[in-house]
């Protein structure tokens, strides 16, 4: 064999001398025992895959299986048990939902993939097995394509395919497909940053194309141009953009070297496309050009497999230290999402930062991200809190490439630097999904610097959050009191309604006011110049269509006030009768939640519209009044501190979600209990755990009882 002749010491590992035995063995390519042996073996393979022509198919199959087996052994997964569980013919509770989607995609797994019904059934079984094994991912489009490739390599052996898929997804691409593609979002930001360093000419050009699409305020609405293609490349691991031969060689490298291969391959490909891309002068032309280029790429006209692999390895030894730094940087930057709502940064017109946690001059990227996140906060409509945060995070990832110094509305309105801090709802006035252009006057310093700064900032932020929490607590409790008052005193209808009427008025006025002067007041998209006609239009959407997403925003709930008024009354009446309360319909609860949300927002506003100092003093007096509330103890939990403001935001959704789960006596009780459940673990979030062990999956595996009590040699 050609490989054997060119390798010296590596040959021993690749092709053990006692061939007569090894060839008959299933795992003839298994590494030598021990960690050192495994590493040596991997190094040898690493040499082999770089050789012209790459690995022969039979070796590839053995390589993939060996790596996967090794991983399964490393995480002490009881493979027989796993297989029995994953491939069982009985239906599991989740299967229907998963199965439906998988079946839909079976016919859509690459045109080149087998059209044989039997093969499709195999593909379905493997995908379903993986979904059962890794419930946090389940099934995500893209997995069908990956599994298709794997099945081709392992000659349609389901167990091997599952094993390799587990290795690939859990170990090589941890968190890539889970959590609304969060890790992918981070990696897109990292990729753009790396491209900036690797091919600055292309980067600048793309940025120019992107930023040519902006509105009067300089807000870019064009998503980063690379994303459309790079996201697909990463999610299908190049299976859809490269010819199969090249794909498999990239995958060989990926299996050995880890997910850094994705970045290197992406960078090489973009650089090869750069010649053509640099010729286009608009985003429109770029996308049109890319249609042609994609075809050329698939026909191996842009780069052939050997050169691609060569260039991938020309980056230097693995891992490139910068990658983990960048990932940390970006995952950190988009992580403290919910903290922002409590303590945010304000940029006065003169560009100096007066207050806020994110003060580092060296880290304007983070600043931008934060802005973006803030902007997203109020536009959340999803059913899940985590999903919302991910959206914001994802959006913030898109921001990295925003164009230089142009002030947008955010800066324009944010000249009041004190009040905004207490009021997360103030962010709602920003148009959702906007791409801001903060002045980029500072160059990012070294990553280490920014990281150490970040930690001290976090500490400061934590202190502030603690203070803030006290205030928020009061707001929640006041609202809770009100809620109780309403339900306990049916005879007080008119007064309560008047009360809420009174509450509303300031909101409306402040809403108008805020567009011109006060950045901190509760306001909405209507404050910006951009108003969707759908929002202004007095649509008579049936309430029950809002089962899950209630009325979304404080702003949208505050607009159709006159229409809502009778309904409010009705709600209160119903609520006051205990018998009916049990039978309350979801619509009413949703309405109630919206009402409460509105009031909470208003409370927040009223606190903020006064001087912050007085608000905190009045808060403490209020606090003493209601200190016997049992919620108090719950709200003191550390993690919740960070989430209070965010939770207020998601209040209505939380409300509805909780209602669906369980009826509990008090709205606030429900809010608080659900809050402790829905807290995302951002503080300890590590998107890229060590390759050998994926915590999430391990936990999952333990739950499922898939782990052997003692490490077994598999």
């Amino acid at each position: 064999m050609t490989i054997g002749s060119t390798l010296d010491t590596s040959t021993n590992y690749l092709f053990p001398s006692s061939t007569s035995e090894d060839t008959t063995m299933r795992f003839s390519l298994t590494p030598y025992p021990g960690e050192k042996g495994f590493q040596q073996w991997k190094d040898a393979i690493s040499v082999a895959i770089r050789m012209p022509g790459g690995l022969p198919p039979s070796i590839r199959q053995k390589l993939w299986i060996s790596l996967a087996t090794n991983y399964i052994r490393e995480i002490h997964l009881d493979w027989d048990k796993t297989c029995r569980f994953a491939f069982n013919n009985f239906s599991n509770p989740d299967d229907d939902q998963l199965g439906i989607q998988i079946v839909k995609d079976l016919h859509r797994t690459g045109c080149s993939w087998s059209s044989n019904e039997h093969d499709r059934a195999t593909l379905k079984r493997v995908l379903l097995a993986f979904a059962r094994y890794n419930k946090s991912i389940g099934y995500c489009q893209g997995l069908n394509i990956l599994t298709g490739v794997i099945l081709d390599i392992v000659d349609m052996n389901e167990e091997y395919a599952l094993m390799i898929l587990i290795y690939l997804i859990d170990s090589i691409l941890p968190n890539f497909f889970s959590n609304n593609l969060r890790a992918l979002a981070i990696d897109m930001a990292v990729f753009r940053e790396w491209l900036r360093m690797y091919n600055s000419k292309l980067h600048i050009h793309l940025q120019k194309l992107q930023s040519s699409s902006h509105d009067a305020s300089g807000t870019i609405y064009e998503p980063p141009l690379l994303n459309v293609f790079t996201i697909q490349w990463f999610l299908t691991l190049f299976a859809t953009c490269l010819p199969r031969r090249a794909t498999l060689r990239v995958w060989d490298a990926l299996m050995i070297e880890g997910n850094e291969i994705l970045f290197r391959t992406g960078l090489v490909l973009w650089s090869k496309l750069a010649t053509s891309v640099l010729k286009v002068s608009t985003a429109d032309q770029f996308y049109s050009a890319m249609a042609t280029l994609s075809v050329q790429l698939l026909d191996e006209k842009i780069i052939d497999a050997d050169n691609l692999i060569k260039e991938i390895y020309n980056f230097g030894p693995f891992p490139t230290p910068m990658l983990s730094d960048l990932r940390q940087k970006f995952s950190f930057n988009i992580t403290p999402f919910q903290q922002l709502s409590a303590s945010t940064t304000n940029i006065p017109d003169d560009g100096t930062i007066k207050q806020g946690v994110v003060r580092s001059n060296s880290d304007e990227l983070k600043l931008k991200d934060n802005k973006r996140s803030k902007r997203k906060i109020n536009t959340i409509t999803d059913d899940e809190t985590t999903a919302d945060e991910d959206i914001a995070n994802f959006m913030s990832c898109f921001a990295i490439l925003s164009s230089p110094s142009r002030n947008n509305r955010l800066e324009y309105h944010s000249n009041d630097s004190t009040t905004i801090n207490n009021n997360p709802t103030a962010l709602s006035r920003l148009t959702p999904g906007a791409y801001s252009n903060l002045p980029t006057t500072h160059k990012t310093n070294s990553i280490e610097d920014s990281l150490s700064l970040d930690i001290s900032q976090l500490r400061q932020q934590y202190k502030k959050l603690k203070e803030r929490n006290k205030q928020v607590q009061i707001i929640v409790q006041t609202a809770s009191n009100e809620q109780k008052q309403r339900s306990r005193a049916p005879s007080m209808h008119s007064s309560t309604t008047n009360n809420s009427e009174n509450f509303r008025r300031p909101t409306i006025s402040s809403l108008e006011f805020s567009t011109s002067k006060l950045p901190s007041s509760v306001c909405s998209i209507s404050s910006g110049p951009i108003v969707n006609h759908l929002l202004i239009k007095p649509t008579d959407i049936k309430r029950n269509q809002f089962k899950k997403t209630v009325s979304i925003k404080s702003s949208s709930s505050s607009i159709p006030i006159p229409d809502r008024q009778p309904k409010v009354l009705q709600t209160i009446q119903t609520e006051s009768i205990p018998q009916e309360k049990v039978q309350r319909s979801k619509e009413q609860e949703a309405e109630e939640a919206a009402e409460l949300q509105q009031e909470l927002d208003q409370l927040l506003t009223s606190l903020n519209l006064e001087k912050p100092t007085t608000s905190s003093s009045s808060s403490s007096s209020l606090l003493s009044k209601i200190s016997d509330e049992k919620e108090k103890s719950t709200t003191h939990e550390t993690i919740q501190l960070k989430n209070v403001a965010q939770t207020l935001y998601n209040y209505e959704k939380v409300q509805v979600t909780t209602n669906e789960k369980k009826e509990s006596p008090n709205l606030i009780d429900r809010l608080l209990t659900s809050r402790s459940v829905q807290i995302p673990k951002y503080s300890s979030f590590n998107p890229f755990p060590s390759r050998s062990f994926n915590e999430n999956v391990a936990v999952n595996g333990y739950k499922l009882g898939l782990y052997a009590p003692n490490p077994t040699n598999h």
């Binding site: 489009q141 859809t240 994802f394």
Partner: protein, 210 residues
């Protein structure tokens, strides 16, 4: 073919309702039953004639799966038209329309023209959503409604053209601020020798509507 405007469209809707097939039918005039699932976002374009003017439609086709929603949301902005698609043979895809509408409200540009499309109308024997329901929903939400079949090409052309016409009407009415590209409309400048290195004029001269 020459064109005066570029309109940005986005196609959204539940998974497997036929978004990509609609696009393929419109751009390539063909139907592919085994279409690969869309990962993230895909792109297509075609120049059409609307009110005697050439309009280039720049269409973003999106993935319908929940996981991709955060990705596709960033494409809502800067789109002048949205094709919201459901499958007349799948009730759930119709039930999710409210969610999509809300999403559009929250993330899209103002004045976006939205067309509600009940796709797969060739499968009328398996119909689960009546045409009247679609019409009612569209009326309630101020959308244009049309039933199409990406397979037989029924109304596909119409759906795209109607949207374009509506956008043109809005341009004529002065609803769109054409100096602001955020509305998803660009005025195309015909340069005799388009030099790729020339930056596009940032303040295009206003022309009359279509």
């Amino acid at each position: 073919m020459d064109y005066a405007y570029v309109f940005k469209y986005i196609i959204i809707g539940d998974i497997n309702v036929g978004k990509s097939c609609l696009l393929l039918q419109f751009t390539d005039k063909r139907f592919q039953s085994a279409h690969d699932c869309t990962i993230g976002v895909e792109f297509g374009s075609r120049i059409v004639n609307v009110a005697e003017k050439g309009v280039k439609l720049q269409i973003w086709d999106t993935a319908g799966q929940e996981q991709f929603r955060s990705i596709i949301r960033s494409y809502y902005r800067g789109a002048a038209g949205a094709l919201l698609v459901y499958d007349i043979t799948k009730r759930t895809t119709f039930d999710h329309l409210t969610m999509w509408i809300n999403d559009l409200r929250n993330y899209s540009t103002s004045n976006m023209v939205i067309v509600l499309i009940g796709n797969k109308c060739d499968l009328s024997d398996r119909r689960e959503v009546q045409k009247e329901e679609g019409e009612a929903f569209a009326r309630d939400h101020g959308l244009i409604f049309i039933e199409t079949s990406a397979k037989t090409a029924v109304n596909v052309e119409d759906a795209f053209i109607k949207t374009a016409r509506e956008i043109c009407n809005k341009i004529d009415d002065g609803v769109f601020d054409l100096t602001n590209e955020m509305c998803g409309i660009k005025i195309h400048h015909k340069l005799p020798n388009e030099n790729p290195n020339t930056r596009r004029n940032s303040n295009p001269n206003q022309t009359s509507g279509c």
